[in-house]
Symmetry: C2
DNA sequence: TTGCCTAACTAACGTTCGTTCGGTTAGCTT
DNA sequence: AAGCTAACCGAACGAACGTTAGTTAGGCAA
């Protein structure tokens, strides 16, 4: 094991309620290997071995290697989007509460499903326009939601930033990176990290109470 | 050309004063391909073709494919570290000035050399401990410098954060992502982005004047 | 002219890649 | 007992992989 790891996490976690069938085992194995070595760095044979299956069996569950990645990217982005969306809907109408809800959910997703986040974000470029389409929509939707909150806050005067887009990029970017360094053994808990980042986001927007 | 690109930038830029020899052309070609497709996704033959050379010629300049990546990672991290270090040294003793200097230089590097930043950060995990050693030192040094500034600011009372490490991770992370979306055609200039992020960092630390 | 050095070349090596095909199970339904 | 389905496997395909060995062409010093 080298010192140099792509992400700190070691536990593989797919979204709940997906590990049933044989294709679930393949997905989980691919998740781990794509996260640790990258899509091009993990072969179908590697994935098969990790899933306890022969290479040919992979093709009984997925039409191609790229389809496996597409599925993982979709699952990842869908999980992230559902998380932030329901969090925001469950908060009040104050843009500050919405930002806190969004960032806590966003960071929470990256601490809970670091491998899914890493694959969905840093292997997405491999996908063809066609296979990535579902994921692009979700990604866009997620980003739009955050931007909407920021813009509403700017209009109502609780946020003061020069560019809403730039603030969205900064908040999104800092949350994204969490997936790479967070591990359950880290000195701060996932909740503390999420709370810390939520406060960072509020401050960044000039909206601290 | 797919819609889905790993990074927005298209111009290849190695650090100034490196494009002379034949090995410089190889480095530049590898930089472009590793940035766009990832290390494992770009073959030696691809790199050779992009450099206008036959595959075997690559091995007259580098002992292996991994050595090319190691060199790019080292160059990238060295450029980043030199940039932030000299910027901080050139600013006053006020931690707030130092943060502004650091973040402007950090973001500036990611807008000026996006491909170098992408390769150095997201392909580093491929390197063996041995080949990555020089890079790990630089990365650590860069991070320590930022942490030092934050801690000094906390001691002197101009910054108020619960965890210096978390703030460093957030500031570093948001800057890192700039390399992926920034392009000279973006509506904000590189200077505007750098200035915006510097202000974000100050606010995040509770150190806005 | 001769000899050497550098930098590029051609050709191929053994391996691994994604994928396919034809066939074999095990468990369920009828 | 017969048939269906889902899951899996062994063996192999052509292509691409990183890398190596040996060769050739041009410039320079003797």
């Amino acid at each position: 094991m080298t010192i140099n790891r792509r992400l700190a996490a070691t536990t593989v976690r797919l979204l709940p309620g997906l590990k049933q069938s044989g294709s679930g085992r393949v997905l989980e194995a691919a998740l781990k290997l794509f996260a640790e070595r990258g899509y091009a760095g993990a072969s179908v044979r590697d994935v098969a071995a990790a899933a306890g299956v022969k290479p040919a069996t992979i093709y009984a569950h997925f039409p191609s290697k790229e389809h496996i990645l597409a599925e993982l990217c979709r699952i990842g982005h869908e999980g992230q989007y559902r998380g932030v969306r329901s969090a925001v809907l469950g908060s009040g109408g104050d843009p500050r509460d919405q930002i806190v809800a969004y960032v806590r959910a966003h960071v929470g997703f990256h601490t809970s499903y670091p491998m899914l986040a890493v694959v969905a974000n840093s292997e997405l470029h491999v996908l063809s326009d066609e296979l990535g389409a579902a994921t692009f929509v979700l990604r866009r939707e997620s980003e739009d939601l955050l931007q909407e909150i920021v813009k509403r806050g700017m209009r109502s005067g609780v946020f003061k930033v020069k560019s809403a887009w730039l603030a969205v990029a900064a908040i999104g970017g800092m949350g994204l990176r969490v997936a790479y360094w967070f591990a359950p053994t880290y000195e701060l808990s996932a909740e503390q990290v999420a709370a810390g980042y939520a406060e960072f986001a509020l401050r960044l927007l000039g909206g601290e109470r």
